[in-house]
Symmetry: none
Subunit: 425 residues, 2 copies
């Protein structure tokens, strides 16, 4: 079944609100196995709404409208649907009573204009609105289905779930197909490199499909599987995930809403490790991201933001010599910062970043975006050099991601050493 | 000029992301006096994109596309625009060099597939992408204009503002009515209180219009003035701004893109003050926001994230007694943290926050969202108590805003003392 969503409302075209209803409905329809091919937004204008509705009914079996169900002259969705389908508008007595009682419960008398909200295209099935005055409707005509929903997201969601979903899944056109979608999150390689590693899959896979999506600082692959029933969809999904994991390995850091800080936090917790932080160019961003995760105090308790040399000396024990010889942005300083914070705080690990976030402060030898990240453990201090681009906030974000990823890879390497040892015994 | 926006991307039709680009562009176009009549979302499918583009070019003079500019086979916006307009695709050498150097700066070699990103419909004006690899374009043909923008919101916004807006306002189709829009940013009062203070203006003003907009942690008023020519629009704007400033006073903290950290940073710089930070529940967020501002190292060089009691004792000099008697989240601890960090670092001011960010750790006496913020100067330590709500990230954000605002109000009070003294002499 091909579906599309039409949102009616000038406030969307003025950019006063975002079309979150379309996102919600798309997600839910896809979970119900109904493919959405278009979203359209059109203003409160009859001529343009007629045009948009006609086009939608030509190309789709299911059309869902949102908005335009209020009591004012501006609200013309139901009337226009009736016009396009050639149906008269009929007063629905039960809805009128419901709207009257809605007002009565609030100690008010229903204004005459609200009568409009109880009128529907002839033959419509009414969808009750439990939290507002505007009922919705399902109108079927000429093999097409139009579902009319209110605009306020809270009313729309409740009506969709309670009244529209049952209609959709019991309707004759419903195929019973289940669609599963996962987002694989990747860090450490560019979009085109990732694509080359899985090119044949991107080209040949039709179910599940794999779609790359570049985000700031990471690459995502969206995998979408369709099956007759949940078990079939899950089996298809896990086959492709397995193949992708085999090819991409540790550059995959998580799935769906798992961000780097969540993944790193979980691994630290599992291992019983603690970590302390010394941040220069990220200015507290890594600490803040660590502490975005509920329960992070189990492994993260102390961070320092040390912009000045003296703070690096006094609080981190970086040697004056090191700062003078190599400068604040150098491998050597990063190394001493990580070791220093780890030792001062007595944590399992110490993480340090030093770099030039810009826009000023760069030189030909040390340009804006140059960053050193160091990770100290009891055994060693690793240092990595990076060159990032973009404005200040971008450099901070990319540095924070790279630092979190360095910790992640280190913890992964320990796990594999441990499992190797376990295998030896 | 009639405009419409076409977003290309299956992730929108699957409901994985919301079409925030359409909202952003609509808002900005409306400010530029360009009416948007439709939004359309279509998947990564050539046939359907052809259909949608043809329809758009029939009914609108300006079509803006977003997304589909990546290096993969899925990305087909430019190719399809060329097809619909009957133009060949041409390699743009300067863009290719730019993409190559984008990779080179990151120590990587450009994969062959990225060449695609440097190809454009013949005759297109190229819009540079300062933060990503995909340039955009303006294509003019048959009296119609197509502006092609990338999908990632960060890239889209920068390109639209820096490259597309100048094209739009200098183009022949632009009508010359000047629309000015300012966002007045308010902190410290709720939306309804602010509305009551300016209710008559909200109701009676037609030019400029004043629209309230509640954001997380602040209230905005958007003032939009239309005039024949810039001078007229500016005169209308400044009249209303003056009236609003008279009524709202110091709860206005800035305009447009001035955030609290920018405003506070500027005042610190003007006064020649420095500040150091001790953060508990915000976990580095305030430090990170201070350092988001270019040049912040002039006044901010040192911050501590001290989750544990021992860190509060060792690094901030909070007395063990205080922690035992009053607890880590208390007026007394906040006071000693602020005084301690100020003294240790020898800065003009010391700012400290301690609180319970949740979701765990609350008690009936000290519930989740309880926060103390302290500001120490040479003369005194002020402490304020807050009770915030919402999830962890929300509490962090509201706490950071309140802390920055406390510093702002303190610096304002100094300014008025100084100016009073100056008046006396």
């Amino acid at each position: 079944m091909k579906a599309e969503i039409i949102a009616v409302g000038s406030e969307l075209l003025l950019g006063q609100i975002v079309n979150s209803n379309a996102q919600y409905l798309s997600k839910r329809l896809s979970e119900l196995g109904i493919d959405v091919f278009y979203h359209t937004v059109v203003g409160d204008n009859e001529g343009r709404l007629v045009e948009v509705l006609n086009r939608a009914l030509e190309r789709s079996e299911l059309v869902i409208t949102t908005g335009g169900l209020g009591p004012t002259m501006d609200d013309l969705t139901k009337e226009t649907v009736a016009k396009v389908l050639g149906l008269p508008m009929i007063l629905h007595q039960a809805s009128l009573e419901h709207i009257r009682s809605f007002f009565a419960q609030r100690g008010r008398i229903m204004p005459e204009s609200n009568t409009k909200q109880a009128c529907f295209p002839e033959g419509a099935k009414i969808l009750a609105n439990e939290v507002g005055t505007a009922p919705g409707a399902v109108v079927e005509a000429g093999g097409k289905t139009v579902i009319i929903l209110p605009g306020p997201p809270f009313e729309l969601k409740l009506m969709f779930e309670k009244a529209a979903v049952p209609c959709l899944t019991q309707g004759h056109a419903y195929q019973g197909e289940v669609i599963l979608s996962r987002v694989m999150r990747i860090f450490g390689k560019g979009e085109s490199t990732v694509e080359e590693l899985v090119k044949d899959l991107l080209e040949q896979q039709t179910n599940p499909t794999i779609a790359p999506l570049a985000q700031v600082g990471e690459i995502n692959l969206r995998i979408t599987a369709k099956g007759k029933g949940k078990a079939q969809a899950e089996a298809l999904m896990s086959g492709v995930l397995g193949e992708l994991e085999k090819r991409l390995g540790t550059i995959i850091f998580g799935y769906d809403d798992q961000d780097l800080e969540t993944v790193v936090g979980q691994k630290l917790k599992e291992l019983g490790f603690t970590i302390s932080l010394a941040e220069s160019c990220t200015g507290g961003l890594i600490s803040s991201r660590f502490t975005d995760v509920p329960g992070s105090s189990a492994y993260f308790q102390y961070g320092v933001v040390s912009y000045s040399n003296s703070a690096k000396e006094v609080f981190l024990g970086v040697k004056e010599d090191t700062l003078l010889t190599y400068g604040a942005v150098s491998e050597q300083t990063a190394r001493e910062m990580a070791g220093g914070i780890r030792e001062k705080m007595g944590t399992t690990l110490g993480l340090a970043v030093t770099g030039i976030a810009g826009p000023d402060g760069g030189t030909p030898e040390k340009p804006v975006g140059l960053v050193y990240i160091a990770l100290a453990s009891a055994q060693e201090v690793m240092v990595k050099k990076f060159q990032f681009g973009g404005p200040r906030k971008n450099i901070k974000l990319l540095t924070a991601n790279a630092a979190l990823n360095l910790v992640r890879l280190y913890l992964l390497s320990l796990e594999s050493k441990y499992s190797f040892r376990r295998g030896d015994n």
